[in-house]
């Protein structure tokens, strides 16, 4: 039979796959085929081996696992016939990779084939080696490849040359062995050998400094001559690409010249003529000619300075830039970026054209152009560039605004002549694209504002005005609200009016209105609202007459389902009502924020992540704690004196504050469903929790002496957490209370007297995972225990393919029910539950013991955790 006709079965398979209407159908076809191939493999049928492999290649291309065919490749490679070897090597290159041990096994076959008498087989082996060789293989087979560089057939020499590239990249010390052979290749006439030889030479030169020195001194002229010959050669049909002889070879030669000329005046001088010739004489009507020109420009930019050539090169780029074909404009922008390092003045001349490219309809061109504009910016042109870009921001594509605004902000920050201009520009960006800018941008704006005392009034008034027109831009709202909170009095009293300002009249209630509108905005996220609450607290002190109105607004958030907001509202409400005497000290203006901790990133192009933690608390990622933390610290210090509980630890006044409003009345007055159920839970906890605490030594927070306070705080968590699963759960104690909630909520709905209650245990806990067991028993069946296992994820990564396995001694019988899910979301947001039914045949004599193994994938990596559980409650 003919091994190369794909065979009807391959065609059938492809047809069946093509006929599949859904992904599921396709999967079914592939599964069936894979099964057939496996069967055929196990029968060890030589007839079908190549066909099986051809099918596997197709299946592999579709993205299905095909590892089981790997050994088949090896068998085919080891078989004597060329067609089998052909497909075997192809399979090897497609299905395998250098990381697999299978490669070790193939080294010997490759070695034999490299020495084969049939040159096509030698070619196959070289090709495979060149594509997949590992460092060990490279070391083992380098002598063979070296020898083949002198093989009589040019088709072998060219492959050996590329194979050598792989070898010296894998094992750089071998590079020197190839220098002489490479020098010979450069004198070849065969284009295939020449192009591969030139590539080999380029790579050797980049790897080995000695080789670079050698080729520079001895071969630069030769390479120049080769390029001259190719560029001037008459029409040769085999290598002609729209009127140009072998542009691929010319481009490779130019690349090599770049390496040789870079940093060496002599070598650069000797190539000037040919570069000038290529730059002027190459046909520019077709893509192939322009590809050479483009490469030539790159080489001119890289080699040592020759003024005339550089002008020529920049002019070529200018022509590309004004070309109607977007491909040429793209590469021109790309190259101008490199030219900038060499001759920035010449690039500046094209600034207007480049700026136009930022507004192009093509995203690739826009991106290149924007990056170029960004590096073109300097003190003298930043104002015009910024104006152009911010004007464009208004009409740009939404998905481009993020990048664009980031670059504008970074430019402004780097080169702004004065603070007022900086503030103005940032305000413009925030008003236009406030929803797209990164957090660092507005952080640093706040830093700058706090450090410019003479501009406080101006800033807050400008922000107030901007807020009226662009209230939907989140980051603008944040900065505005923050400034109104800090400098609200300046807004109302028109303090520090600058000459350039238009005077505005803002009353105290207008200022409060602005913040109230912001906090009631539906689209804003909770951290913005939290900032609004702080601003309100600050305003209540700045504007004593509006204090009661502000208190009303704040009080509305005491029932907020977001913990952060609720806590703040409750605290602030209490400060306004009960702590008038300390309020003004609490909400004093923020001190100027530390600019130094931000200055570091001014050297970087993009604002670096604000991660410095010293100095200000401004760097906190959610931006909420930013303004609060210092007052909060104050609050704790002060109240420790004030509340006359001198021995309280830092956290307790907080509980106290919470405790004030946690009277049953206030809970019941809330119409909110969550609060109601929360109250029940509270009762549940108190009634059930107490006996549980007696039995269970493994429940630290239940046993802790501050039981009441802990519970109240925790219940607060519970109240808010159902609606806002993303808010952090402050203490470990509270999370176990969460579990209690889980376990008691269902059990409370069952009829009473359902068998004795057992406390839950933490069956297993590691840094990444926690498993709790809840127990129940059916009445009248003391031997059988139903365990409800809850798994929660303590890391910030999602676990997939989660599997729980358990093993028990012989006297126990274990039955596992299916888990609720096999994916475990990050940070304990949700948990997986799984029921286990354990029958203890030695009930009363022996207690439960269990080994568990938990497997899952994090970022596609397998993780296995295991442990033994022996802390089952007594009497279970």
């Amino acid at each position: 039979m003919n091994p190369f006709s794909s065979g009807t079965r391959l065609r059938d398979m492809i047809r069946a796959i093509r006929a599949s209407k859904t992904a599921a159908e396709e999967r079914a076809v592939v599964r069936k085929e894979c099964a057939a191939i496996r069967a055929s493999i196990s029968e060890n049928n030589n007839e079908y081996r190549h066909r099986d492999l051809a099918k596997l290649m197709f299946i592999h291309m579709l993205g299905y696992p095909t590892h089981f065919g790997q050994m088949e490749c090896l068998k085919l490679i080891a078989s004597p016939g060329f067609p089998e070897k052909r497909i075997g090597y192809l399979g090897l290159m497609l299905l395998l990779d250098e990381r697999q041990e299978v490669l070790m096994l193939v080294t010997n076959s490759i070695k034999q084939d490299l020495n084969h008498t049939n040159q096509y087989i030698v070619g196959l082996a070289l090709c495979a080696l060149g594509n997949i060789s590992s460092a060990e293989m490279a070391r083992d087979l380098a002598p063979e490849v070296e020898r083949l560089l002198q093989f009589r057939d040019p088709n072998i020499r060219k492959k050996a040359a590329l194979c050598s590239i792989r070898i010296i990249k894998k094992v750089p010390d071998l590079a020197e062995n190839f220098i002489n052979a490479t020098a010979v290749l450069l004198k070849e006439k065969h284009h295939g050998v020449l192009i591969t030889g030139v590539q080999l030479c380029t790579d050797i030169c980049t790897i080995s400094p000695e080789a670079l020195e050698y080729f520079r001194k001895k071969h630069t002229d030769g390479i120049v001559r080769v390029l001259k010959d190719v560029a001037n050669s008459p029409y040769s049909p085999e290598y002609d690409v729209s009127g140009i002889t072998d542009p691929f070879l010319q481009i490779r030669l130019l690349k090599l010249l770049r390496v040789l000329g870079d940093g060496d005046t002599d070598a650069s001088d000797s190539m000037n003529d040919i570069l000038a010739q290529v730059a002027t004489k190459t046909e520019t009507n077709k893509n192939s000619g322009n590809a050479i020109l483009y490469e030539c420009v790159g080489t001119i930019m890289a080699v040592e300075d020759n003024g005339g050539l550089r002008v020529l090169a920049i002019n070529i780029l200018g022509r590309f830039l004004s070309n109607r074909d977007n491909n040429f404009r793209y590469v021109a922008l790309n190259m101008l970026m490199r030219a900038l390092a060499v001759d920035s003045q010449a690039v500046q001349r094209h600034r207007a054209t480049i700026l136009e490219c930022v507004k192009d309809a093509d995203a690739s061109i826009r991106k290149r152009a924007l990056e170029l504009v960004y590096v073109l910016a300097n003190e003298s042109n930043v104002q015009t560039l910024t104006k152009e870009l911010t004007d464009y921001l208004e009409v740009s594509d939404p998905e481009f605004r993020g990048d664009l605004s980031a670059k504008i902000c970074s430019m402004v920050e780097k080169f702004s002549p004065d603070k007022i201009w900086y503030i103005d520009q940032m305000l413009k960006v925030l008003s236009e694209a406030g929803n797209y800018v990164k957090d660092e941008v507005w952080y640093s704006l706040v830093v700058v504002i706090t450090n410019a005392p003479n501009l406080h009034g101006y800033s807050v008034r400008s922000l107030y005005k901007a807020l009226q027109t662009a209230g939907e831009q989140e980051t603008l709202v944040r900065v505005a609200v923050w400034c109104i909170g800090e400098y609200g009095d300046m807004l109302v009293n028109n303090t520090g009016v600058l000459d350039i300002e238009e005077p505005i009249m803002v009353s105290e209630s207008d200022a409060v209105d602005a913040v109230e509108i912001a906090i009631k905005g539906h689209s804003l996220d909770p951290s913005t609202k939290a900032m609004c609450l702080i601003a309100l607290l600050k305003l209540s002190s700045r504007f004593p007459s509006s204090s009661s109105r502000i208190n009303e607004i704040i009080a509305q958030y005491k029932g907020s389902l977001v913990l952060e907001l609720q806590q703040r509202a409750i605290e602030f409400n209490s400060i306004i009502q009960n702590h008038q005497n300390i309020r003004s000290t609490l909400v004093e203006r923020m001190p100027a924020l530390d600019e130094a901790s931000y200055s570091g990133r001014k050297t970087g192009s993009v604002p670096a992540a604000a991660s410095t933690s010293q100095g200000t608390s401004l760097n906190l990622p959610n931006g909420v704690a930013k303004a609060t933390s210092p007052p909060l610290v104050d609050l704790l210090d002060l109240s420790a004196d004030d509340v006359s509980t001198p021995n309280l630890s830092g956290g307790d006044p907080l509980h106290d504050l919470l405790g004030i409003d946690l009277s049953p009345a206030s809970l019941q007055s809330g119409t909110n469903q969550a609060q109601k159920s929360g109250t029940d839970v509270l009762l549940d906890l108190l009634s059930i929790g107490t006996p549980a605490a007696q039995n269970s030594p493994s429940m630290p927070d239940m046993l802790s002496p501050t039981l009441d306070k802990q519970n109240t705080a925790d219940v607060l968590d519970i109240l808010s957490s159902p609606s806002a699963p993303s808010t952090q759960i402050p203490s470990a104690g509270s999370s176990s209370t969460m579990d209690l909630l889980d376990s008691f909520a269902p059990s409370s709905s069952k009829p009473d007297g359902n068998g004795p209650a057992f406390p839950s245990i933490i069956a297993f806990e590691s840094n990444t995972l926690k498993v709790t067991f809840n127990f129940s028993k059916q009445q009248g069946d003391p031997q059988t225990i139903v365990i409800e296992a809850h798994f929660s994820n303590k890391s910030s990564n999602v676990y997939t393919d989660f599997i729980f396995q358990a093993a028990v001694p012989k006297f126990l019988q274990l039955h596992l029910e299916p888990a609720s899910s096999n994916t475990l979301p990050a940070s304990g947001n949700e948990s997986i539950t799984q029921k286990l039914r354990v029958t203890n045949s030695q009930h009363g004599k022996k207690s439960l013991v269990m080994r568990v193994r938990i497997g899952y994938k994090v970022n596609n990596k397998d993780v296995l955790e295991q442990g033994q559980i022996s802390n089952f409650p007594h009497g279970l």
Binding site: P3, L90, L94, A291, N327
Partner: protein
């Protein structure tokens, strides 16, 4: 090493040929192919043939219903890669006679053999169509 991978994808976004010159596991490949195909297929004729994605630059060209996409690194000459794609298509044309998607599907191994003669380890081996095709024709002759 210039060329990182070569993809042929039809206009429904189905991969018809994939050759990688650096190791990537199946999931990464699928994800990468999906992302690239979405990006390239969304672009119109007037836009340039280059798309930047992750650390790659994708040079692509459409021939009838088939997209040829070549992933390269930053050092590579984009215009030359466009020319290379054209050479690849011309070579396939010469062998199959007006190559179409089905030719590549049903003769996947031949398409790979051709690629093998043209590119090795991400570098161009041969640019002459006759030289590329001669071993393949020889094989055809031997097996017929």
């Amino acid at each position: 090493m210039g060329i990182r991978f070569i993809l042929m994808v039809n206009k429904q976004g189905q991969t018809r040929l994939a050759q990688y010159y650096e190791y990537m596991n199946l999931e990464e490949r699928r994800a990468l192919e999906g992302e690239i195909v979405r990006k390239c297929l969304a672009r119109n004729e007037q836009q340039c043939s280059f798309v930047e994605h992750r650390t790659y630059k994708i040079v692509y060209r459409r021939y009838a219903s088939l997209f040829f996409m070549v992933g390269v690194d930053n050092e590579e000459n984009e215009l030359a890669i466009l020319e290379f794609i054209h050479l690849l298509v011309e070579t396939m044309d010469r062998h199959f006679g007006n190559v179409c998607e089905l030719d590549i599907m049903f003769h996947l191994e031949k398409a790979h053999f051709m690629l093998e003669e043209m590119v090795m380890n991400g570098c161009i081996v041969e640019t002459s169509k006759a030289n590329i095709l001669s071993p393949i024709q020889l094989m055809d002759k031997a097996s017929s």
